[in-house]
């Protein structure tokens, strides 16, 4: 299948004498969206990215067979992925004293780790401290969007108005109706696959060609209907029909590459920020990109207290630079943006810029993972081989708890991600007992006969869960590092008990033989969905940003990533991050043109 690989226009050189209209720190989902919206409004934008611009297709090699790789896809010797035990038993910094040459987060323990080793950070260069936390970071153009899980969900008023529903926490300063038009824009601009279900807790998107289900998944879907629950095909942030307006991305051809690796798509059917947002923004001629630029401080005009630019360190040479801009936009990820706000101390902002409330770093929340179930689908044993892993995802079971009813043990809810069917590597083989011809036949006959799912639960936003700066520990560039003060609480524990029970109950009702029920929670951070730390709100005393992700304290400072989220919901955040950033940047551009930000 010949595919034309488009090269983006050469980027203009960064000019540090110029005052740009806006400087954006970070190039992931949020930063990419900021660049897209602002450049399409004609603003001159400088984007700073801490990592490299990798030749990503050469990294991902999506179609390479395991046996074409000398180590069958595994990282070189001396490269170590942190295990669950290491996260649980030890305290960060996890790479301290390690005899390995490189130490990576747990995602590098997945298959195909050699293809993502340059995408995720080396923990040796990026230490952190405090409580246990499995922090996954990617520093390169596009950030984690290069390997994200692609589940693209909308939030609903059960999330935006959670406090009104159950009395806990704070409502968001927006309602679903405010953000719905921007979800639509994201759907149309980037492409999304899914099936309409008309659920109040999980609003539908403007879907392209849907994902399909494997036979056992259809069985579960039909069974759940009787329990008034839903199994819907994976809502994938993948263009399945193609995008006429984007020459850098192909439609999905069901090659199955996304399920064999940490993620990543070398035809860019799966959304990633570079091909989806940044290359088109570069084509406008309004975007300047500076990679290898590690931001270390938001610079402040001492007379006005307003932001005047960003100080950064060249990641390769260690040299320091200053970029000037009329508006500063942070999109460095939930934890890195909060760290940057805290690092930006000045006489006018002694606790860090935008932090007069003392809430920066606090109200940190995410999704709890761990509980799940694996079942055997007996009527699939020995059936002819099907192709089930070509799809860009399998299935999702939306939240069903605490909607119309009230669970006595916990508030909020959880959803499940799961899958059934054949995969390239038979994961069940090493657990199939015995050896010899009987063993071999059993592995063959049972391929595609397993089904499993695992929960993602809302972790409540709590003031006492927070990050701050470590007083002594510094990263490779001499910048003070993040220190965690973060633990799951009682609501999460109770929710996880229910998650395991509900998972088992649903598989039993579908007639699957239960092989394993997992009840333990995984380490904090495992979901890679960290949120909060600079929340939006109407009250400047208890929130950091207004409804347009604009600092209450500093009107030309915006934080457009997941740090702005008021609560975690149980739905995956990427699509919401982009819809919010779109809405805020439209507002930003309008205000900028009116002269209201200067």
């Amino acid at each position: 299948m010949p595919l034309i690989r488009m090269r983006q226009a050469a980027a203009p050189e960064v000019d540090l004498q110029t005052t740009y209209d806006a400087v954006v720190v970070g190039s992931g989902a949020a930063g990419g969206m900021a660049a897209h919206v602002l450049t399409s409004q004609g603003m001159k934008v400088l984007m700073l990215e801490a990592g490299k611009k990798l030749d990503i297709n050469n990294e991902l090699k999506s179609m390479e067979w395991p046996y074409e790789h000398p180590r069958r896809g595994v990282m070189p010797p001396g490269s170590h992925a942190l295990s669950l035990n290491e996260y649980t038993i030890r305290q960060p910094p996890y790479a301290a004293g390690s005899s390995f040459r490189h130490v990576y987060s747990y995602v590098q323990g997945w298959s195909g780790s050699d293809y993502s080793k340059n995408i995720v950070v080396d923990e040796k260069d990026h230490p952190y401290s405090g409580t246990s936390y499995a922090w996954v970071r990617a520093r390169l153009l596009g950030g984690k969007t290069n390997i994200w899980g692609r589940l693209a969900l909308r939030l609903s008023d059960y999330d935006f108005k959670g406090k009104s529903h159950d009395g806990y926490g704070e409502d968001w300063p927006i309602a679903y109706a405010d953000i719905a038009p921007y979800y639509d824009k994201v759907d149309l601009y980037l492409g999304i696959s899914g099936v309409k279900e008309n659920l109040p807790q999980l609003p539908d998107s403007l879907f392209q060609r849907p994902n399909t289900l494997a036979a056992a998944e259809v069985t579960l879907r039909n069974s759940l209907k009787k329990m008034d629950r839903v199994l819907t095909p994976y809502r994938a942030g993948v263009t399945t029909d193609g995008l006429k307006h984007n020459k850098y991305r192909s439609k999905c051809f069901g090659r199955g590459a996304c399920s064999r690796r940490a993620g990543g798509c070398d035809i860019h059917a799966a959304f990633d920020s570079p091909t989806g947002l940044i290359y088109p923004a570069l084509d406008t001629g309004h975007l300047t990109l500076r990679t290898n630029a590690t931001a270390r401080e938001v610079l402040v005009d001492p007379k006005t207290g307003k932001a005047r630019g960003v100080a950064f360190v060249d990641t390769e040479t260690g040299r320091s630079y200053e970029a000037r801009a009329a508006v500063v936009i942070l999109a460095a990820s939930t934890l890195e943006s909060a760290r940057l706000l805290l690092l930006s101390k000045s006489t006018t902002h002694p606790n860090g810029i935008g932090n007069s409330s003392g809430h920066v770093g606090h109200n940190f929340c995410e999704h709890v993972m761990g509980p799940g179930v694996t079942g055997l689908v007996k009527d699939r044993i020995g059936t002819p081989r099907t192709l089930d892993d070509g799809r860009p995802g399998n299935f999702y079971v939306p939240r069903f708890r605490n909607l119309k009813d009230r669970n006595p043990n916990f508030i909020r809810g959880y959803g499940f991600e799961g899958g059934a069917g054949t995969t390239m590597f038979p994961e069940h083989a090493s657990g199939t007992p015995g050896f010899g011809a009987t063993f071999k036949k059993s592995v063959r006959d049972r391929a595609g006969a397993y089904i499993s799912m695992g929960g993602f639960g809302e972790v409540l936003a709590r003031y006492e869960n927070y990050i701050d700066l470590d007083p002594t520990l510094k990263d490779r560039w001499g910048i003070p590092t993040t220190r965690f003060h973060y633990k799951f609480g009682d609501n999460e524990k109770k929710m996880c008990e229910d998650m395991a029970n509900a998972a088992q109950e649903m598989f039993e009702a579908a007639g699957f033989e239960i092989l394993d029920v997992t009840r333990n929670m995984l380490t904090e951070g495992w979901s890679i969905h960290e949120l909060g730390t600079a929340r939006m709100g109407t009250d400047p005393k208890t929130s950091v940003l207004n409804q347009f992700q604009q600092s209450h304290d500093v009107k030309n400072l915006f934080v457009v990533d997941g740090s702005s989220h008021v609560s975690a919901s149980c739905q995956n955040p990427t699509w919401t991050i982009m819809a919010l950033a779109w809405r805020s940047c439209e507002y930003l551009a309008t205000e900028f043109k009116k002269g209201n930000l200067s």
Binding site: G78, P210, L213, V218, G390, S430, G434, F435, K440
Partner: protein, 181 residues
Amino acid sequence: MSDHDNELTRRDVIKLGAAATAAVSLGVGHAEAQARVGGFLTESEFAILDELSEMIIPTDSHSPGARAAKVAAFIDSQLAEAWEEKDRSDWRRGLGLVERLSQQMNGTPFVKSSSEQRLAVLTRMAQNESKPEEPEEQFFRELKGRIVYAYYTSEIGIKQEMEYKGNTYQAEFAGYDVSKP
């Protein structure tokens, strides 16, 4: 920083080249005849591993087994470049246990035993698979895990044994489209 990294990369490349050469040179005919460039195991250790791999995943009427898939050669190349010395010493000890067990049970070297005798040794090693206690039982789990990975990531394992149909361009997704009534 970049110079340092490049140097590491170059070294990695040289190592990879050696491993790849080892895999290729092992690729023909019966194991004992091989000259194993860059491998770790001795010829007799390699012969034991090669035999064990074929006993665990044998050729049957459906597809070729672990020997044809060059499973032992892949494991040997992994051991040769393993970062931790313990990986190598554990495997040397494990294969030594197999040989000792064979002498104890049958009074003959493992590879020179009859197929019944070899089966008795492997059966003994596998007897507590779900809860291994003895050193040879623990080694069976390690052995089987690596053989399974090597076999089912090989071309024979993926295409002939498992008849995997993917990793191709497809106009439509296989499966059921539930958006249609």
